[in-house]
Subunit: 352 residues, 2 copies
């Protein structure tokens, strides 16, 4: 072993969901949108001028920021864009969580939070959710180095009302509070309007779920000018040009095509609500998800067994073999046809 | 001022080169390639299936890695890809430079190195280049936490012969040595074949210069399996999906179109060599650049004045108002027409 190996940064890397290939696969395991990107995005792709690729992209990604700013009724200096919301969240951890005090996040939540904390040497404490997986704002009234939580939460799908999000922000004005709204478009109320009242609030969203653009890697944060400026400074100290030309152009086109966005999000919500009834009819119970996935547990059959049975049938869902979650499956809301096929299989399987 | 502001990471961000807009602008300031991307890239863009954008891209960017591995006669596990070579270099700093001892790099070099060191709290010492801007391998024989240097160096364009690069690597096998070969395709000899002999050598290259794809943000590193695995672990701890679908597909297409690559690189080298003669004829002296830029100083007129005069004429070159460099201009090699226009102006200007 070379001496240089002693000084490698030690990490336990995040393991992304499986990406099975094949035409017969039904992929309900990574919360992708079952519908293609908006017609406006496809048109923008077809019209993209490849000559421009020889040039550096606009480091400030103005076109994308301006379109988002118009859509969200914010200034461009209230918006930070990055390579998916993971890049945005990682950059926010690096920028804001330097006090030496532990940051707080729920014990059942997005599994990347402890990974970033470990990577950047940020101490953290997890806060227990209730037996019904609920986040209680009063549990976040304590000294800390910062707070981050998803709303709706993952993998539970439970959404806090805006008043409770505001309660957490208001009680913690000495630290930065990050609300990770990856799934907010599927039925929650965004905290983004609160950024005018709370300088310490950062709201993070993504194009990967509701905008059908996981493949383009576009995420963004909204916050006070001071917060955004601090993140921009750190970003420019790491990589000035994070957003490539294609993601800037296609991202802006996605935001402009608002009708398609509303239609497809509406369809996913309808499919989800029908799926809740069907799961219940098959003996599953679950949370009242406000996301594009369901979080369900069967009254009789262990989740691990159902997971394997589905997988053999080429139907992929997500199973987390960890305490508290190991009786649950996280099932992405697919098209009606995909859901029919899954429910058809489950009916026969659970009946046998 | 909120208390939270006290714990923002303090940085002095890197300032990227100006990106002036307009049809009449001659842009010789950011070392972009004057030729469009390869026909194979344009074809791949036209044939891209937008439906696939709804899915997450392959987190390991296999298609791109395999194409690069074939081209470089390496294994895919010898290759790391990132969002431009800045992302790759930043990730390498974060992964390898954790010993607490100062890392070394030349005092005249790429201005991002001290920025990453500051961002990640890595101590560093700069090593003086000679009066003729040369890097001397013997200056790097000392205890340190790691070494990074560009070859050819920026903004001087001077290229070390491979034997001297190997000397630096051989003398420092207890630390990771990063050779930043952003400009190697324009006339230097890559150190990439040395990775089989030196486990501690990381060679970084980019698609932004010789492959005309600055707009797509693609960089890569080549190294021993151990080095690459360590970087992958850190990358998966920050952002699993850094390369978007378009960059994977178009990047692979660029590598496959080798004939176009060789033709355009050959043209740039020819233009550069002619430009050296013309600059000399106008009273400039400079380094023997092996890159796609020239580094020149006029015998009589201060560089800052020439810079401003060119700029008024909408011809943008790069000027660094810092000690040792402030008598030089860095001029990107453009098309023959662009260079003619610049030389035409300089002739009149210097004559007056």
């Amino acid at each position: 072993m070379g001496l240089w190996e002693e000084h490698i940064r030690k990490v336990v890397p995040y393991v992304p969901g499986e990406q099975p290939q094949g035409d017969r696969v039904i992929k309900l395991n990574t919360n992708e949108n079952p519908y293609p990107p908006a017609p406006g995005v496809i048109k923008a792709l077809r019209e993209m001028n490849p000559e421009l690729l020889r040039r550096y992209p606009d480091p400030s990604a103005c076109q994308l920021k301006e379109t988002l700013a118009g859509y969200c009724h914010l200034g461009t200096d209230n918006i930070f864009v990055g390579v998916g919301s993971d890049d945005v969240l990682g950059m926010a951890f690096l920028t804001f969580f330097n006090s030496g005090k532990p940051i707080l996040f729920p014990d059942v939540t997005y599994s990347f939070y402890p990974v970033w904390a470990d990577l950047f040497g940020i101490p953290y404490e997890t806060v227990k959710v209730t037996g019904a997986f609920e986040i209680l704002p009063e549990d976040y009234r304590r000294e800390c180095g910062g707070i981050v939580f998803p709303n709706p939460n993952a993998p539970t799908g439970i959404c806090l009302p805006l008043s409770q999000v505001e309660d957490i922000v208001r009680q913690n004005q000495d630290v930065v509070v990050i609300v990770d709204e990856a799934y907010i478009d599927f039925g929650g109320e965004s905290a983004r309007n609160l950024i005018h009242r709370y300088e310490n609030l950062l709201v993070v969203q993504t194009f990967s779920k509701s905008r059908s653009m996981a493949g383009m890697r576009i995420g963004y944060a909204m916050g006070s000018r001071k917060l955004i400026k601090a993140m921009e400074d750190v970003k420019y100290s790491y990589n000035s040009y994070t957003m490539n030309y294609a993601s800037i152009v296609l991202g802006a086109a996605a935001v402009r095509d608002d009708q398609y966005f509303k239609e497809t999000v509406g369809k996913i919500i309808e499919t989800r609500e029908r799926a809740k009834g069907k799961f219940a009819g098959l003996g599953f119970s679950g949370t009242d998800s406000r996301t594009n996935f369901l979080f369900v547990s069967h009254e009789r059959v262990p989740a691990a067994e159902i997971f394997r049975a589905l997988r053999e049938r080429q139907i992929y869902v997500r199973y987390f073999p960890v305490p508290r979650l190991d009786q649950y499956l996280r099932v992405t809301v697919g098209t009606d046809d995909e859901m029919e096929e899954m429910f058809g299989f489950l009916e026969t399987y659970l009946d046998s």
